[in-house]
Symmetry: C2
Subunit: 156 residues, 2 copies
């Protein structure tokens, strides 16, 4: 499967997840926004733990836990939290997602695919336990986060 087809499929999954949610009795937009803001905070917590470990005293168990948590969030189907109706609104705070996010499923699918790939790779590398390899892969994960923030996150 080529990269472009993968991106389109990833975008279709986002749309399909949103559709599935609607069928189940869709949660309120403010809850979806609160949950996505929460999920990104859990990512921030675990990124901070990883940074502290790769820059300071390395604890393999801590790194594995943090990497697994990030991978689980990446694999959780976050797309469903960006369902139609959540383009604007307040969860814990006003959404930080740019309106463009909801209009470019192709680019979003590509960025989400990259994030998932790097997060799952980090979880694997963490188990192997080589600190230098973890640091390198953590850098790649960070770039995949930044790429999406640059395009689609409203700056504070």
């Amino acid at each position: 499967m080529n990269k472009s087809v993968k991106s389109i499929l990833a975008a279709m999954i986002v749309v399909a997840s949103a559709g599935a949610l609607a069928q189940q009795g869709q949660p309120k937009p403010e809850n979806l926004i609160k949950w996505r803001q929460s999920a990104y905070q859990v990512l921030a917590w675990n990124s901070g733990r990883l940074k502290a470990n790769v820059d300071g005293q390395y604890n393999k168990d801590e790194v594995v836990k943090a990497a697994n948590t990030i991978a689980a969030i990446a694999n959780s189907g976050l797309g469903a939290l960006f369902a139609a109706g959540t383009e604007q609104g307040k969860g814990w705070h006003d959404t930080s997602t740019k309106p463009e996010f909801f209009k470019d499923a192709h680019r979003v699918g590509e960025l989400a695919g990259n994030f998932n790939k790097e997060a799952n790779e980090l979880a694997k590398v963490a188990v192997a336990g080589d600190a230098a390899a973890v640091k390198e892969q953590f850098g790649k994960l960070g770039k995949s986060c930044k790429a999406c923030h640059d395009d689609f996150k409203i700056k504070d």
Copy 2:
């Protein structure tokens, strides 16, 4: 290992995690509180998804994702987010954790151990794919959540 020893060990892990965090340059208490409130919201999102699936149209892929996310949060080392200094304070909102939580490491360890056990079991059962078994195990997980909320969560 008997149950009591397991509980004490679980409590020691909570304390040790808090200690490890302090060594790394401890994040601010308000961040720890915000992260734990976020982690519980991610649990709420995924519990809601599971409930919608076991009570409505069952989608194995959705159930596996939700169960894996809950298990990953359970295994993430949440204890570190309840480090000394976070007994009171505001993350997204004033902490909902009762002061008693910070004084009963034995009971907290026991409850946390039960939650982890039921969450990891649910992730296994979800992969096997039997909807009735998932519903039963989801009920057990819910009881382990409620047991801790009853003892240590300030009611809204």
